[in-house]
């Protein structure tokens, strides 16, 4: 895209995708806390209420479980509901309708019913403390029947939201508090990003980093810094966690020979563990390491939050450590939690 392409913020890309979907399909409705005139906690629903009115853009009580269930039920009955749960931590309250009902509906009815609901929720830490910072993508990835996407920039946010609002079954759209203020090239209208396609966010030759959501931005910055040290880092933006585009990852790693997985959430049973496992089912002799949060809750305290989650420096250290290990003939992988003193 040319540098002169108009720029939009991440939150604007989301609002635009929803608005265009609502114009195209009268069956798209939005449910959530403060999504109406207020326009959403991050203004990512701004303009929708004014254009589409309160019947289609509905403020709800603080009742995540029921709102999810209502979104799922309306979807099963023919609508396309976008349910907003402001913080991913509170998706816990809504897992029963999402996982026990929606994700299994098509299966259990042998295709007679399906629930094309989109759950949009915001993950990640930005000073909001232990119960407003969690990244639970890996839980949802593991649920058969759910599609899970996690864009890192406005264009993908637009394109994946358009795909989500056309999908056949339930989709979880995960965004991130630190992405909202990020600008990017305006997405081309009406061009959805297909599920299951990763994107080479930056080409490189020495090592592959896989990341999603805000960590792609962190990885790109780390790659810039490492370039000054003469290291060429390829950054693969997963975009879609379920389905996972293992072909693109494998092709990248077969060129670079090393993989660093980066995620903001917990390493244990995390996205990186799965990416590494699937990759190794295809190719051997790899140098692999994981970077993620330390095994602790994330405090709102800025010192402790910074100590808990990966940042540019820790990603760069992870790259350096992994490449050192490769050079020294270390047989396999190195782990690096994002923590203080880690790596």
């Amino acid at each position: 895209m040319s540098a002169k392409a108009p720029r939009v913020f991440f939150r604007e890309a989301i609002a635009r995708a929803i608005a265009e979907a609502m114009r195209a399909d009268p069956r798209v409705i939005v449910l959530g806390q403060d999504v109406g005139a207020f326009g959403g906690a991050y203004r990512e629903f701004e303009g929708l209420y004014a254009e589409f009115g309160g019947a289609r853009v509905r403020d709800t009580p603080v009742a995540e479980a029921a709102i999810m269930g209502i979104g799922v039920g309306a979807a099963a009955a023919g609508y396309r509901t976008l349910v907003s749960i402001t913080y991913m931590d509170f998706v816990m309250l809504a897992l029963d309708p999402l996982v026990n009902y929606a994700a299994k509906l098509r299966f259990k009815t042998a295709g007679r019913l399906t629930a094309p609901v989109v759950l949009k929720t915001t993950a990640g830490a930005r000073g909001q403390g232990v119960a407003h910072s969690q990244c639970l993508e890996s839980w949802l990835m593991s649920v058969p029947g759910l599609t899970v996407v996690a864009p890192s920039n406005p264009a993908d946010a637009y394109g994946l939201m358009r795909s989500a609002l056309r999908a056949d079954g339930p989709v979880v759209f995960v965004d991130h508090k630190r992405l909202y203020p990020i600008p990017g090239n305006a997405p081309a209208s009406d061009v959805p990003v297909p599920f299951g396609q990763a994107r080479i966010a930056r080409p490189g030759t020495d090592i592959t980093i896989t990341a999603h959501s805000f960590m792609v931005q962190v990885a790109l910055t780390a790659a810039d810094a490492l370039a000054k040290e003469g290291l060429s880092v390829e950054v693969v933006d997963l975009r879609s966690l379920a389905p996972l585009d293992i072909d693109t990852i494998a092709a990248s790693v077969s060129r670079t020979g090393a993989l660093l997985t980066v995620e903001e959430g917990q390493l244990t049973c995390g996205v990186g563990a799965e990416v590494a496992a699937r990759l190794r089912e295809r190719q051997g002799g790899l140098n692999v390491a994981r970077v993620g949060a330390i095994a602790a809750p994330v405090s709102s305290n800025h010192v402790l939050e910074a100590a808990a989650i990966p940042d540019v420096e820790r990603v760069a250290q992870g790259v350096r450590a992994l490449l050192r290990a490769r050079e020294s003939g270390h047989p396999n992988s190195v782990c690096s939690g994002g923590g203080p003193g880690a790596v």
């Binding site: 509905r58 309708p97 009815t109 007679r112 029947g145």
Partner: protein
């Protein structure tokens, strides 16, 4: 449904479940003997375009709603001729084309789903309503509160029917729920509510019909509590927790005997016509069994079909 149809449907449910339970190949089942009047009274007040959602104790409601006994039997025996190709099984069957949006075996889990279906009805401007049938056990779940509140706020065309059979597994309703009547739970939300004798199919049908009229008119949700009795244990494999005298007393209140007696008094049935009804339902059940037995099990490859 006229009185005879109600009687026949209650008899069908009883016979269907008895036959099913006697088989060795059903896994286990949640039966509804004693609760037939709730299912039949309720369904006799619904219209074709309406949708019914239930909890796991769903054979009676499905049959009362008009789901084909053949496809129900096949489903419960795990056959691919089942209404959901044998994949749903106990507690999950769904036949939306026949107004049975589905059972869901998570206690309380169908309440908010039903509100979503009602929202869809409301948005699409159709005159149909949605009914959600749930147990006394489900009345203790927060889902009821959240759903009642939103349904009241949004005036959803949703009829809450609580089949209060006095038990959740082994736990008596009085030990699990503080309200004097479960219908009282609707009052704070301004939702009209009533409690009715769930052993009396006529009373149930009238109460539901009048509540449904309000809902259909756009007045918003309504709530009907049906006080019933579960004649058997929680499931075909569960331990019975009540003593024989209690069970005898409870079973004496059989809704089928009650309607039969009333119809006999009114001269609407005779021993001969009852025998005919009996033969009819036995034939339907036999046909359902034959249909199910003739059908194959799904192939293992269907375990990966229709995911997502």
């Amino acid at each position: 449904m006229n009185a005879i149809e109600r009687l026949r449907t209650m008899m069908l449910i009883r016979a269907f479940e008895r036959t099913l339970a006697a088989r060795p190949d059903h896994g286990f089942q949640l039966l509804s003997a004693g609760e037939e009047a709730v299912a039949v009274g309720l369904c006799s007040a619904l219209q074709p375009g309406d949708q019914l959602l239930t909890g796991g104790r769903s054979i009676g409601p499905a049959l009362a709603r008009g789901v084909d006994p053949k496809t129900v039997m096949a489903e419960l025996l795990g056959k691919s001729a089942g209404v959901n190709r044998g994949k749903a099984g106990r507690g999950h069957l769904a036949d939306p084309e026949h107004g049975f949006f589905g059972a869901h075996a998570v206690v309380g889990g169908n309440l908010s789903i039903a509100a979503g279906v009602a929202l869809a009805q409301q948005l699409s401007g159709q005159p149909n309503i949605v009914c959600v049938l749930f147990g006394d056990g489900a009345a203790g779940s927060g889902a009821l509160h959240e759903t009642l509140n939103i349904a009241a706020l949004w005036k959803l065309p949703l009829l809450f029917v609580c089949n209060n059979n006095q038990l959740s597994v082994s736990t008596p309703r009085r030990a699990a729920l503080a309200p004097r009547r479960l219908a009282d739970l609707a009052a704070p939300f301004g939702v009209p509510a009533q409690t009715v004798d769930g052993m009396d199919v006529v009373a149930v049908a009238e109460a539901i019909a009048s509540a449904a009229r309000g809902v259909r008119s756009g007045a918003g949700p309504a709530f009907v509590e049906c006080e019933s009795e579960r004649f058997g244990p929680h499931s075909t494999t569960a331990r019975e927790t009540r003593d024989p005298e209690t069970l005898e007393r409870i079973r004496a209140r059989c809704p089928i005997l009650r309607l039969t007696g009333d119809l006999e008094l009114a001269g609407a049935v005779s021993p001969a016509s009852l025998a005919t009804l009996e033969a009819e339902v036995e034939a339907m059940v036999a046909e359902a069994v034959a249909f199910a037995e003739a059908a194959p099990y799904p192939s293992p490859s269907e375990a990966l079909a229709d995911v997502g």
